[in-house]
Protein backbone atom coordinates (compact mmCIF):
# COMPACT_ATOMS: atom_id res chain seq x y z
CA UNK A 1 0.00 0.00 0.00
CA UNK A 2 1.72 3.12 -1.22
CA UNK A 3 1.43 6.09 1.06
CA UNK A 4 0.21 8.97 -1.08
CA UNK A 5 0.10 11.63 1.58
CA UNK A 6 2.64 14.40 1.46
CA UNK A 7 4.23 13.00 4.59
CA UNK A 8 4.60 9.59 3.00
CA UNK A 9 6.33 11.11 -0.01
CA UNK A 10 8.67 13.14 2.14
CA UNK A 11 9.56 10.01 4.09
CA UNK A 12 10.32 8.17 0.88
CA UNK A 13 12.61 10.94 -0.34
CA UNK A 14 14.26 11.14 3.06
CA UNK A 15 14.82 7.40 3.25
CA UNK A 16 16.06 7.16 -0.32
CA UNK A 17 18.71 9.80 -0.01
CA UNK A 18 19.44 10.50 3.61
CA UNK A 19 22.89 11.96 3.33
CA UNK A 20 23.88 10.94 -0.19
CA UNK A 21 27.34 9.96 0.88
CA UNK A 22 28.08 12.96 3.06
CA UNK A 23 30.13 10.69 5.27
CA UNK A 24 33.56 9.32 4.51
CA UNK A 25 35.58 6.68 6.38
CA UNK A 26 35.36 5.43 9.93
CA UNK A 27 34.40 8.36 12.22
CA UNK A 28 37.38 8.04 14.56
CA UNK A 29 36.95 11.27 16.51
CA UNK A 30 33.21 10.83 17.18
CA UNK A 31 33.81 7.22 18.25
CA UNK A 32 36.54 8.36 20.63
CA UNK A 33 34.32 11.08 22.13
CA UNK A 34 31.46 8.62 22.47
CA UNK A 35 33.77 6.10 24.17
CA UNK A 36 34.85 8.75 26.68
CA UNK A 37 31.20 9.44 27.56
CA UNK A 38 30.50 5.72 27.92
CA UNK A 39 33.43 5.40 30.32
CA UNK A 40 32.30 8.47 32.27
CA UNK A 41 28.74 7.13 32.48
CA UNK A 42 29.74 3.64 33.60
CA UNK A 43 32.47 4.68 36.01
CA UNK A 44 30.94 7.92 37.28
CA UNK A 45 31.10 6.80 40.90
CA UNK A 46 34.86 6.19 40.74
CA UNK A 47 35.78 9.02 38.37
CA UNK A 48 34.06 11.98 40.05
CA UNK A 49 36.60 14.07 42.01
CA UNK A 50 33.96 15.08 44.58
CA UNK A 51 30.54 13.84 45.58
CA UNK A 52 28.12 15.46 43.10
CA UNK A 53 25.74 16.18 45.98
CA UNK A 54 28.20 17.44 48.65
CA UNK A 55 27.49 21.09 49.42
CA UNK A 56 30.14 23.49 50.75
CA UNK A 57 28.75 26.95 51.32
CA UNK A 58 32.22 28.42 51.77
CA UNK A 59 33.05 27.40 48.17
CA UNK A 60 29.93 28.84 46.54
CA UNK A 61 30.06 29.89 42.86
CA UNK A 62 33.79 29.34 42.38
CA UNK A 63 34.86 29.96 38.75
CA UNK A 64 36.77 27.35 36.68
CA UNK A 65 40.40 26.88 37.79
CA UNK A 66 41.96 29.02 35.05
CA UNK A 67 40.02 32.14 36.06
CA UNK A 68 40.90 34.47 38.91
CA UNK A 69 39.53 33.06 42.15
CA UNK A 70 39.29 29.54 40.75
CA UNK A 71 40.70 26.55 42.55
CA UNK A 72 42.47 23.49 41.08
CA UNK A 73 40.34 21.49 43.47
CA UNK A 74 37.23 22.35 41.43
CA UNK A 75 38.34 22.24 37.77
CA UNK A 76 35.08 23.55 36.31
CA UNK A 77 34.05 25.61 39.35
CA UNK A 78 31.12 25.17 41.72
CA UNK A 79 27.39 26.00 41.80
CA UNK A 80 25.34 28.12 44.20
CA UNK A 81 25.55 25.45 46.92
CA UNK A 82 29.28 24.87 46.43
CA UNK A 83 28.76 21.54 44.62
CA UNK A 84 31.55 20.56 42.21
CA UNK A 85 30.38 21.25 38.63
CA UNK A 86 32.73 18.73 36.98
CA UNK A 87 31.40 15.91 39.18
CA UNK A 88 27.83 16.93 38.43
CA UNK A 89 28.46 17.03 34.68
CA UNK A 90 30.07 13.57 34.83
CA UNK A 91 27.10 12.12 36.69
CA UNK A 92 24.86 13.90 34.17
CA UNK A 93 26.49 11.79 31.44
CA UNK A 94 25.17 8.68 33.17
CA UNK A 95 21.63 10.09 33.34
CA UNK A 96 21.65 11.14 29.68
CA UNK A 97 23.09 7.87 28.39
CA UNK A 98 20.81 5.78 30.58
CA UNK A 99 17.61 7.56 29.53
CA UNK A 100 18.73 7.66 25.90
CA UNK A 101 19.77 4.03 25.55
CA UNK A 102 17.05 2.42 27.68
CA UNK A 103 14.15 4.40 26.19
CA UNK A 104 15.35 3.63 22.65
CA UNK A 105 15.74 -0.07 23.52
CA UNK A 106 12.19 -0.22 24.87
CA UNK A 107 10.70 1.76 21.99
CA UNK A 108 12.77 -0.25 19.49
CA UNK A 109 11.73 -3.63 20.88
CA UNK A 110 8.02 -2.82 21.12
CA UNK A 111 7.92 -0.84 17.87
CA UNK A 112 9.83 -3.46 15.89
CA UNK A 113 7.65 -6.32 17.10
CA UNK A 114 4.48 -4.42 16.14
CA UNK A 115 5.98 -3.47 12.76
CA UNK A 116 7.04 -7.05 11.95
CA UNK A 117 3.60 -8.37 12.88
CA UNK A 118 1.76 -5.65 10.95
CA UNK A 119 3.88 -6.09 7.84
CA UNK A 120 3.89 -9.89 7.86
CA UNK A 121 0.27 -10.65 8.65
CA UNK A 122 -1.39 -7.62 7.05
CA UNK A 123 -5.18 -7.42 7.19
CA UNK A 124 -7.11 -5.79 10.00
CA UNK A 125 -4.19 -6.15 12.42
CA UNK A 126 -2.05 -4.10 10.05
CA UNK A 127 -4.78 -1.44 9.73
CA UNK A 128 -5.21 -1.09 13.48
CA UNK A 129 -1.48 -0.88 14.17
CA UNK A 130 -0.78 1.56 11.37
CA UNK A 131 -3.68 3.92 12.17
CA UNK A 132 -2.41 4.03 15.76
CA UNK A 133 1.11 4.89 14.64
CA UNK A 134 -0.27 7.57 12.30
CA UNK A 135 -2.15 9.15 15.20
CA UNK A 136 0.94 8.86 17.40
CA UNK A 137 3.09 10.57 14.79
CA UNK A 138 0.67 13.47 14.28
CA UNK A 139 0.65 14.39 17.97
CA UNK A 140 2.75 17.35 18.99
CA UNK A 141 5.49 15.26 20.65
CA UNK A 142 6.92 17.77 23.10
CA UNK A 143 3.45 18.66 24.37
CA UNK A 144 2.52 15.00 24.69
CA UNK A 145 5.73 14.31 26.59
CA UNK A 146 4.97 17.28 28.81
CA UNK A 147 1.47 16.01 29.62
CA UNK A 148 2.76 12.44 30.10
CA UNK A 149 5.60 13.59 32.32
CA UNK A 150 3.28 15.56 34.58
CA UNK A 151 0.67 12.80 34.71
CA UNK A 152 3.14 10.02 35.55
CA UNK A 153 5.00 12.18 38.02
CA UNK A 154 8.71 12.98 38.20
CA UNK A 155 11.34 10.25 38.18
CA UNK A 156 13.86 8.61 35.89
CA UNK A 157 11.74 5.51 35.25
CA UNK A 158 8.67 7.51 34.27
CA UNK A 159 10.77 9.75 32.03
CA UNK A 160 12.09 6.70 30.18
CA UNK A 161 8.51 5.46 29.67
CA UNK A 162 7.43 8.89 28.37
CA UNK A 163 10.28 8.98 25.86
CA UNK A 164 9.68 5.39 24.74
CA UNK A 165 5.97 6.18 24.23
CA UNK A 166 6.95 9.12 22.05
CA UNK A 167 9.24 7.00 19.85
CA UNK A 168 7.91 3.48 19.28
CA UNK A 169 5.79 4.46 16.26
CA UNK A 170 8.88 5.38 14.23
CA UNK A 171 10.30 1.87 14.68
CA UNK A 172 6.95 0.33 13.79
CA UNK A 173 6.79 2.24 10.51
CA UNK A 174 10.31 1.28 9.49
CA UNK A 175 10.04 -2.39 10.55
CA UNK A 176 6.72 -2.74 8.70
CA UNK A 177 8.04 -1.18 5.49
CA UNK A 178 11.13 -3.42 5.54
CA UNK A 179 9.09 -6.53 6.33
CA UNK A 180 6.81 -5.83 3.37
CA UNK A 181 9.77 -5.88 0.97
CA UNK A 182 11.36 -9.02 2.44
CA UNK A 183 8.31 -11.22 2.89
CA UNK A 184 7.81 -11.51 -0.88
CA UNK A 185 11.29 -12.96 -1.42
CA UNK A 186 11.71 -16.56 -2.58
CA UNK A 187 13.58 -17.72 0.50
CA UNK A 188 10.66 -16.74 2.70
CA UNK A 189 8.25 -18.64 0.44
CA UNK A 190 10.60 -21.65 0.55
CA UNK A 191 10.76 -21.50 4.34
CA UNK A 192 6.98 -21.50 4.44
CA UNK A 193 6.83 -24.51 2.12
CA UNK A 194 9.39 -26.27 4.31
CA UNK A 195 6.93 -25.92 7.17
CA UNK A 196 8.45 -23.11 9.23
CA UNK A 197 6.05 -21.41 11.63
CA UNK A 198 5.25 -17.73 11.15
CA UNK A 199 7.13 -16.88 14.33
CA UNK A 200 10.22 -18.71 13.07
CA UNK A 201 10.08 -17.05 9.63
CA UNK A 202 9.83 -13.64 11.28
CA UNK A 203 12.61 -14.30 13.77
CA UNK A 204 15.08 -16.23 11.62
CA UNK A 205 14.42 -15.15 8.04
CA UNK A 206 13.01 -11.62 8.11
CA UNK A 207 14.30 -9.96 11.28
CA UNK A 208 18.03 -10.39 10.44
CA UNK A 209 17.43 -8.53 7.17
CA UNK A 210 15.55 -5.72 8.88
CA UNK A 211 17.95 -5.23 11.78
CA UNK A 212 20.47 -3.03 9.95
CA UNK A 213 17.97 -0.33 9.15
CA UNK A 214 16.69 -0.51 12.72
CA UNK A 215 20.17 -0.09 14.18
CA UNK A 216 20.64 3.07 12.12
CA UNK A 217 17.30 4.47 13.25
CA UNK A 218 18.05 3.54 16.87
CA UNK A 219 21.40 5.33 16.83
CA UNK A 220 19.91 8.53 15.45
CA UNK A 221 16.99 8.26 17.89
CA UNK A 222 19.41 8.10 20.85
CA UNK A 223 20.84 11.47 19.82
CA UNK A 224 17.35 12.92 19.44
CA UNK A 225 16.01 11.52 22.68
CA UNK A 226 18.96 12.81 24.73
CA UNK A 227 18.13 16.33 23.52
CA UNK A 228 14.43 15.84 24.34
CA UNK A 229 15.28 14.53 27.81
CA UNK A 230 17.43 17.60 28.41
CA UNK A 231 14.61 19.86 27.17
CA UNK A 232 12.08 18.22 29.51
CA UNK A 233 14.47 18.43 32.46
CA UNK A 234 15.14 22.04 31.50
CA UNK A 235 11.39 22.70 31.71
CA UNK A 236 11.38 21.04 35.14
CA UNK A 237 9.32 17.95 34.22
CA UNK A 238 12.18 15.53 33.58
CA UNK A 239 14.65 14.08 36.05
CA UNK A 240 13.84 15.66 39.44
CA UNK A 241 16.52 17.48 41.49
CA UNK A 242 19.00 16.97 43.05
CA UNK A 243 19.92 14.52 40.24
CA UNK A 244 22.21 16.49 37.93
CA UNK A 245 20.60 15.97 34.51
CA UNK A 246 22.31 18.22 31.96
CA UNK A 247 18.95 19.82 31.21
CA UNK A 248 18.33 20.79 34.83
CA UNK A 249 21.96 21.97 35.19
CA UNK A 250 21.41 24.30 32.23
CA UNK A 251 18.14 25.52 33.74
CA UNK A 252 19.99 26.27 36.98
CA UNK A 253 22.81 28.00 35.12
CA UNK A 254 20.27 30.17 33.34
CA UNK A 255 19.82 32.21 36.52
CA UNK A 256 23.54 32.94 36.61
CA UNK A 257 24.31 33.82 32.96
CA UNK A 258 25.64 37.22 33.96
CA UNK A 259 27.59 36.23 37.08
CA UNK A 260 28.57 32.55 36.80
CA UNK A 261 28.37 31.68 33.10
CA UNK A 262 30.18 28.36 33.53
CA UNK A 263 27.17 26.80 35.26
CA UNK A 264 25.12 26.79 32.07
CA UNK A 265 27.90 26.56 29.50
CA UNK A 266 29.74 23.35 30.49
CA UNK A 267 26.67 21.06 30.78
CA UNK A 268 25.61 22.41 27.38
CA UNK A 269 29.00 21.70 25.84
CA UNK A 270 28.95 18.15 27.22
CA UNK A 271 25.45 17.63 25.80
CA UNK A 272 26.45 18.97 22.38
CA UNK A 273 29.63 16.84 22.21
CA UNK A 274 27.73 13.66 23.06
CA UNK A 275 24.81 14.29 20.68
CA UNK A 276 27.10 15.44 17.89
CA UNK A 277 29.26 12.33 18.16
CA UNK A 278 26.18 10.07 18.20
CA UNK A 279 24.74 11.80 15.13
CA UNK A 280 28.04 11.49 13.26
CA UNK A 281 28.26 7.79 14.11
CA UNK A 282 24.61 7.35 13.08
CA UNK A 283 25.19 9.05 9.71
CA UNK A 284 28.19 6.84 9.10
CA UNK A 285 26.31 3.69 10.12
CA UNK A 286 23.49 4.60 7.77
CA UNK A 287 25.83 4.84 4.82
CA UNK A 288 27.71 1.69 5.84
CA UNK A 289 24.81 -0.57 6.85
CA UNK A 290 21.74 0.48 4.92
CA UNK A 291 21.59 -1.78 1.85
CA UNK A 292 19.67 0.82 -0.16
CA UNK A 293 22.53 3.25 0.32
CA UNK A 294 24.98 0.61 -0.89
CA UNK A 295 22.97 0.15 -4.08
CA UNK A 296 23.13 3.85 -4.74
CA UNK A 297 26.87 4.09 -4.60
Amino acid sequence: MADHTALGRARRVASRRPGSGWTGGLPVVPLAIFAVFVILALGADIIVPHSPYATALSDRLLPPFWLAGGSPDHLLGTDRLGRDLLSRVILGARISMLTGVVSVLIAGAVGTLLGLVAGYFGGWLDSVIMRTTDAMLSFPIILVALVFAVSLGPGLGNLIIVLALAMWARFTRLARAETLTWKERDFVALARVAGCSSARILAVHIFPNVVNALVVLATLQIGWVIVVEAALSFLGVGVPPPSPSWGSLIAEGRNYVGSAWWLGVFPGVALILLVLSINLIGDWLRDALDPRMRELR
Binding site: G19, S138, P140, V150, A231, G258, V275
Partner: protein, 307 residues
Protein backbone atom coordinates in the same frame (compact mmCIF):
# COMPACT_ATOMS: atom_id res chain seq x y z
CA UNK B 1 -9.86 14.89 -6.96
CA UNK B 2 -13.02 15.74 -5.03
CA UNK B 3 -13.13 12.22 -3.61
CA UNK B 4 -9.52 12.50 -2.59
CA UNK B 5 -10.08 15.78 -0.74
CA UNK B 6 -13.13 14.35 1.01
CA UNK B 7 -11.28 11.23 2.12
CA UNK B 8 -8.35 13.29 3.40
CA UNK B 9 -10.70 15.57 5.35
CA UNK B 10 -12.36 12.46 6.76
CA UNK B 11 -8.98 11.04 7.82
CA UNK B 12 -8.10 14.36 9.40
CA UNK B 13 -11.32 14.42 11.41
CA UNK B 14 -10.73 10.83 12.58
CA UNK B 15 -7.22 11.74 13.74
CA UNK B 16 -8.61 14.78 15.51
CA UNK B 17 -11.15 12.61 17.31
CA UNK B 18 -8.36 10.27 18.50
CA UNK B 19 -6.33 13.29 19.61
CA UNK B 20 -9.27 14.72 21.54
CA UNK B 21 -9.97 11.44 23.36
CA UNK B 22 -6.29 10.89 24.09
CA UNK B 23 -5.64 14.36 25.47
CA UNK B 24 -8.89 14.27 27.48
CA UNK B 25 -7.81 11.08 29.25
CA UNK B 26 -4.13 12.03 29.65
CA UNK B 27 -4.82 15.42 31.10
CA UNK B 28 -7.10 13.91 33.73
CA UNK B 29 -4.28 11.60 34.81
CA UNK B 30 -2.16 14.62 35.73
CA UNK B 31 -4.14 15.17 38.94
CA UNK B 32 -7.00 17.35 40.04
CA UNK B 33 -7.03 21.11 39.49
CA UNK B 34 -8.69 21.36 42.91
CA UNK B 35 -5.33 20.60 44.56
CA UNK B 36 -3.90 23.72 42.93
CA UNK B 37 -6.92 25.99 43.40
CA UNK B 38 -7.95 25.26 46.98
CA UNK B 39 -5.90 25.83 50.12
CA UNK B 40 -4.44 22.74 51.79
CA UNK B 41 -6.81 23.07 54.74
CA UNK B 42 -9.92 23.00 52.51
CA UNK B 43 -12.77 20.93 53.97
CA UNK B 44 -14.34 18.07 51.99
CA UNK B 45 -17.47 20.25 51.65
CA UNK B 46 -15.45 23.05 50.02
CA UNK B 47 -13.89 20.53 47.60
CA UNK B 48 -17.28 19.08 46.69
CA UNK B 49 -18.71 22.51 46.06
CA UNK B 50 -15.75 23.56 43.89
CA UNK B 51 -15.97 20.29 41.95
CA UNK B 52 -19.65 20.93 41.31
CA UNK B 53 -19.01 24.46 40.08
CA UNK B 54 -16.37 23.20 37.64
CA UNK B 55 -18.57 20.24 36.57
CA UNK B 56 -15.79 17.88 37.68
CA UNK B 57 -18.22 15.84 39.79
CA UNK B 58 -19.91 14.30 36.76
CA UNK B 59 -18.86 10.89 35.35
CA UNK B 60 -15.81 11.14 33.09
CA UNK B 61 -17.67 9.71 30.08
CA UNK B 62 -20.32 12.41 30.42
CA UNK B 63 -17.60 15.03 30.75
CA UNK B 64 -16.05 13.80 27.50
CA UNK B 65 -19.25 13.95 25.49
CA UNK B 66 -20.10 17.40 26.83
CA UNK B 67 -16.59 18.46 25.83
CA UNK B 68 -16.97 16.93 22.36
CA UNK B 69 -20.38 18.54 21.84
CA UNK B 70 -19.03 21.96 22.78
CA UNK B 71 -15.98 21.38 20.59
CA UNK B 72 -18.19 20.86 17.55
CA UNK B 73 -19.73 24.26 18.25
CA UNK B 74 -16.30 25.84 18.45
CA UNK B 75 -16.43 26.13 22.23
CA UNK B 76 -13.26 24.91 23.94
CA UNK B 77 -14.52 25.57 27.45
CA UNK B 78 -13.39 27.99 30.15
CA UNK B 79 -10.00 28.10 31.78
CA UNK B 80 -10.22 26.80 35.35
CA UNK B 81 -7.47 29.11 36.51
CA UNK B 82 -8.19 32.42 34.77
CA UNK B 83 -11.94 31.95 34.21
CA UNK B 84 -11.51 33.18 30.63
CA UNK B 85 -12.83 31.30 27.58
CA UNK B 86 -10.08 29.05 26.14
CA UNK B 87 -10.79 30.37 22.63
CA UNK B 88 -10.07 33.88 23.90
CA UNK B 89 -6.76 32.80 25.47
CA UNK B 90 -5.79 31.05 22.25
CA UNK B 91 -6.78 34.00 20.07
CA UNK B 92 -4.57 36.11 22.28
CA UNK B 93 -1.51 33.81 22.14
CA UNK B 94 -1.71 32.09 18.75
CA UNK B 95 -0.63 35.12 16.65
CA UNK B 96 2.55 35.43 18.74
CA UNK B 97 3.50 31.80 18.13
CA UNK B 98 2.64 32.02 14.43
CA UNK B 99 4.80 35.13 14.14
CA UNK B 100 7.73 33.38 15.80
CA UNK B 101 7.38 30.16 13.80
CA UNK B 102 6.85 32.09 10.55
CA UNK B 103 9.94 34.23 11.07
CA UNK B 104 12.00 31.13 11.94
CA UNK B 105 10.93 29.27 8.80
CA UNK B 106 11.69 32.27 6.57
CA UNK B 107 15.11 32.63 8.19
CA UNK B 108 15.87 28.92 7.83
CA UNK B 109 14.87 28.97 4.14
CA UNK B 110 16.90 32.09 3.39
CA UNK B 111 19.98 30.17 4.52
CA UNK B 112 19.09 26.60 3.56
CA UNK B 113 17.92 27.10 -0.04
CA UNK B 114 21.03 28.80 -1.49
CA UNK B 115 23.32 26.66 0.66
CA UNK B 116 21.55 23.40 -0.24
CA UNK B 117 21.76 24.17 -3.96
CA UNK B 118 25.42 25.17 -3.73
CA UNK B 119 26.17 21.98 -1.78
CA UNK B 120 24.50 19.77 -4.39
CA UNK B 121 26.29 21.52 -7.27
CA UNK B 122 29.72 21.24 -5.69
CA UNK B 123 29.64 17.94 -3.87
CA UNK B 124 32.64 17.54 -1.58
CA UNK B 125 33.53 21.21 -1.92
CA UNK B 126 33.52 24.11 0.51
CA UNK B 127 29.76 24.84 0.39
CA UNK B 128 28.98 21.14 0.79
CA UNK B 129 31.17 21.02 3.87
CA UNK B 130 29.53 24.13 5.30
CA UNK B 131 26.05 22.70 4.61
CA UNK B 132 26.98 19.46 6.35
CA UNK B 133 28.39 21.30 9.36
CA UNK B 134 25.29 23.50 9.69
CA UNK B 135 22.93 20.53 9.35
CA UNK B 136 24.84 18.52 11.97
CA UNK B 137 25.20 21.38 14.43
CA UNK B 138 21.58 22.40 13.97
CA UNK B 139 20.36 18.97 14.96
CA UNK B 140 22.88 18.45 17.76
CA UNK B 141 22.75 21.77 19.63
CA UNK B 142 19.67 22.11 21.83
CA UNK B 143 17.72 25.29 21.13
CA UNK B 144 17.21 26.18 24.79
CA UNK B 145 20.95 26.24 25.37
CA UNK B 146 21.57 28.37 22.29
CA UNK B 147 18.83 30.74 23.42
CA UNK B 148 20.48 31.28 26.79
CA UNK B 149 23.93 31.77 25.23
CA UNK B 150 22.56 34.23 22.65
CA UNK B 151 20.82 36.22 25.39
CA UNK B 152 24.01 36.27 27.44
CA UNK B 153 26.09 37.52 24.50
CA UNK B 154 23.81 39.80 22.48
CA UNK B 155 21.66 41.29 25.18
CA UNK B 156 23.91 40.80 28.21
CA UNK B 157 27.51 41.51 27.18
CA UNK B 158 26.97 43.48 23.97
CA UNK B 159 23.57 44.95 24.75
CA UNK B 160 22.56 45.00 21.08
CA UNK B 161 19.26 43.14 21.17
CA UNK B 162 16.41 42.71 23.67
CA UNK B 163 16.23 39.33 25.43
CA UNK B 164 12.68 38.61 24.35
CA UNK B 165 9.13 39.60 25.17
CA UNK B 166 6.95 41.25 22.64
CA UNK B 167 7.67 44.57 21.08
CA UNK B 168 9.20 45.84 17.85
CA UNK B 169 10.79 43.62 15.22
CA UNK B 170 14.12 43.64 17.10
CA UNK B 171 12.48 41.48 19.78
CA UNK B 172 11.93 38.77 17.22
CA UNK B 173 15.59 38.43 16.17
CA UNK B 174 17.03 36.22 18.92
CA UNK B 175 14.03 33.88 19.32
CA UNK B 176 13.72 33.44 15.54
CA UNK B 177 17.45 32.71 15.13
CA UNK B 178 17.23 30.18 17.96
CA UNK B 179 14.16 28.38 16.62
CA UNK B 180 15.05 28.64 12.93
CA UNK B 181 18.69 27.62 12.94
CA UNK B 182 18.70 25.11 15.82
CA UNK B 183 16.36 22.18 15.95
CA UNK B 184 15.49 20.20 12.86
CA UNK B 185 14.15 22.92 10.55
CA UNK B 186 17.38 24.14 8.96
CA UNK B 187 19.01 20.75 9.15
CA UNK B 188 16.01 18.96 7.61
CA UNK B 189 15.67 21.41 4.72
CA UNK B 190 19.41 21.28 4.00
CA UNK B 191 19.53 17.48 3.92
CA UNK B 192 16.36 17.10 1.86
CA UNK B 193 17.16 19.86 -0.63
CA UNK B 194 20.70 18.65 -1.19
CA UNK B 195 19.50 15.06 -1.69
CA UNK B 196 16.63 15.93 -4.01
CA UNK B 197 18.79 18.38 -6.02
CA UNK B 198 21.30 15.57 -6.62
CA UNK B 199 18.39 13.32 -7.69
CA UNK B 200 16.85 15.93 -9.99
CA UNK B 201 20.15 16.92 -11.61
CA UNK B 202 20.38 13.29 -12.82
CA UNK B 203 17.08 13.58 -14.69
CA UNK B 204 16.54 13.40 -18.44
CA UNK B 205 14.97 16.82 -18.65
CA UNK B 206 18.12 18.35 -17.20
CA UNK B 207 20.24 16.54 -19.79
CA UNK B 208 17.85 17.79 -22.45
CA UNK B 209 18.13 21.36 -21.21
CA UNK B 210 21.93 21.06 -21.36
CA UNK B 211 21.76 19.79 -24.96
CA UNK B 212 19.47 22.72 -25.79
CA UNK B 213 22.27 24.97 -24.54
CA UNK B 214 20.55 26.41 -21.48
CA UNK B 215 23.24 28.01 -19.31
CA UNK B 216 24.32 25.82 -16.36
CA UNK B 217 23.41 28.52 -13.83
CA UNK B 218 19.87 28.73 -15.18
CA UNK B 219 19.53 24.93 -15.20
CA UNK B 220 20.46 24.73 -11.53
CA UNK B 221 18.47 27.64 -10.16
CA UNK B 222 15.47 27.43 -12.44
CA UNK B 223 14.89 23.95 -13.90
CA UNK B 224 16.34 21.82 -11.11
CA UNK B 225 15.47 23.89 -8.05
CA UNK B 226 11.78 24.24 -8.87
CA UNK B 227 11.54 20.44 -8.95
CA UNK B 228 13.83 19.79 -6.02
CA UNK B 229 11.80 22.11 -3.79
CA UNK B 230 8.74 19.84 -3.87
CA UNK B 231 9.83 17.45 -1.08
CA UNK B 232 11.13 20.46 0.86
CA UNK B 233 7.67 22.05 0.82
CA UNK B 234 6.24 18.77 2.12
CA UNK B 235 8.74 18.74 4.93
CA UNK B 236 7.91 22.31 5.92
CA UNK B 237 4.19 21.51 5.96
CA UNK B 238 4.82 18.46 8.12
CA UNK B 239 7.33 20.17 10.37
CA UNK B 240 5.18 23.26 10.89
CA UNK B 241 3.05 21.44 13.45
CA UNK B 242 6.08 20.08 15.26
CA UNK B 243 7.52 23.58 15.47
CA UNK B 244 4.25 24.94 16.84
CA UNK B 245 4.58 22.65 19.86
CA UNK B 246 8.38 22.77 19.94
CA UNK B 247 8.14 26.48 20.67
CA UNK B 248 7.34 25.68 24.31
CA UNK B 249 11.07 25.53 25.10
CA UNK B 250 12.08 28.62 23.13
CA UNK B 251 9.07 30.55 24.43
CA UNK B 252 10.13 29.70 27.97
CA UNK B 253 13.68 30.92 27.42
CA UNK B 254 12.59 34.19 25.81
CA UNK B 255 9.46 34.74 27.93
CA UNK B 256 7.52 34.77 24.66
CA UNK B 257 3.74 34.89 25.27
CA UNK B 258 2.72 32.16 22.79
CA UNK B 259 0.68 28.96 22.88
CA UNK B 260 3.62 26.76 23.91
CA UNK B 261 4.08 28.81 27.05
CA UNK B 262 0.30 28.78 27.58
CA UNK B 263 0.22 24.98 27.40
CA UNK B 264 3.21 24.65 29.72
CA UNK B 265 1.61 26.85 32.39
CA UNK B 266 -1.72 25.11 31.93
CA UNK B 267 -0.14 21.67 32.50
CA UNK B 268 1.50 22.98 35.67
CA UNK B 269 -1.86 24.25 36.95
CA UNK B 270 -3.83 21.16 35.82
CA UNK B 271 -5.96 23.59 33.81
CA UNK B 272 -7.65 20.82 31.77
CA UNK B 273 -9.63 22.90 29.28
CA UNK B 274 -6.61 24.98 28.28
CA UNK B 275 -4.32 21.96 27.76
CA UNK B 276 -7.03 20.24 25.71
CA UNK B 277 -7.61 23.39 23.69
CA UNK B 278 -3.94 23.96 22.86
CA UNK B 279 -3.26 20.33 21.88
CA UNK B 280 -6.39 20.13 19.72
CA UNK B 281 -5.72 23.45 17.99
CA UNK B 282 -2.09 22.50 17.30
CA UNK B 283 -3.18 19.08 15.98
CA UNK B 284 -5.76 20.84 13.79
CA UNK B 285 -3.13 23.23 12.42
CA UNK B 286 -0.79 20.27 11.75
CA UNK B 287 -3.51 18.37 9.89
CA UNK B 288 -4.53 21.46 7.88
CA UNK B 289 -0.90 22.22 6.98
CA UNK B 290 -0.41 18.66 5.71
CA UNK B 291 -3.64 18.82 3.71
CA UNK B 292 -2.69 22.19 2.22
CA UNK B 293 0.68 20.78 1.15
CA UNK B 294 -0.99 17.77 -0.47
CA UNK B 295 -3.30 20.00 -2.47
CA UNK B 296 -0.47 22.36 -3.38
CA UNK B 297 1.26 19.36 -4.93
CA UNK B 298 -1.23 19.10 -7.75
CA UNK B 299 -0.21 22.54 -8.93
CA UNK B 300 3.51 22.10 -8.35
CA UNK B 301 3.83 18.71 -9.97
CA UNK B 302 1.27 18.04 -12.70
CA UNK B 303 2.37 14.39 -12.83
CA UNK B 304 0.61 13.78 -9.52
CA UNK B 305 -3.08 12.99 -9.89
CA UNK B 306 -5.26 12.03 -7.00
CA UNK B 307 -7.98 9.60 -8.03
Amino acid sequence: MKRYILSRVGQGLATLLVVSLFVFVMVRMTGSPLDMLLPVEATPEMRAQAAEELALDRPVVVQYFVFLGNLLQGDLGTSIRTRLPVTELLADRLPNTLQLVGASIVLALLIAVPLGVAAALGRGGFWDGLARAMALLGQSIPSFWVGIVLIAIFSGVLGWLPAGRQGGPEHLVLPAVTLGLFGFMLSGVLRLLRGSMIDVLDGDFIRFARIKGVPERRIAWHHALSNALIPVITFIGFYFGIMMSGTVVVETVFAWPGVGRLAYEAVQWRDYPVVQGVVIVIALITILANLAVDLLYCYLDPRIRYG
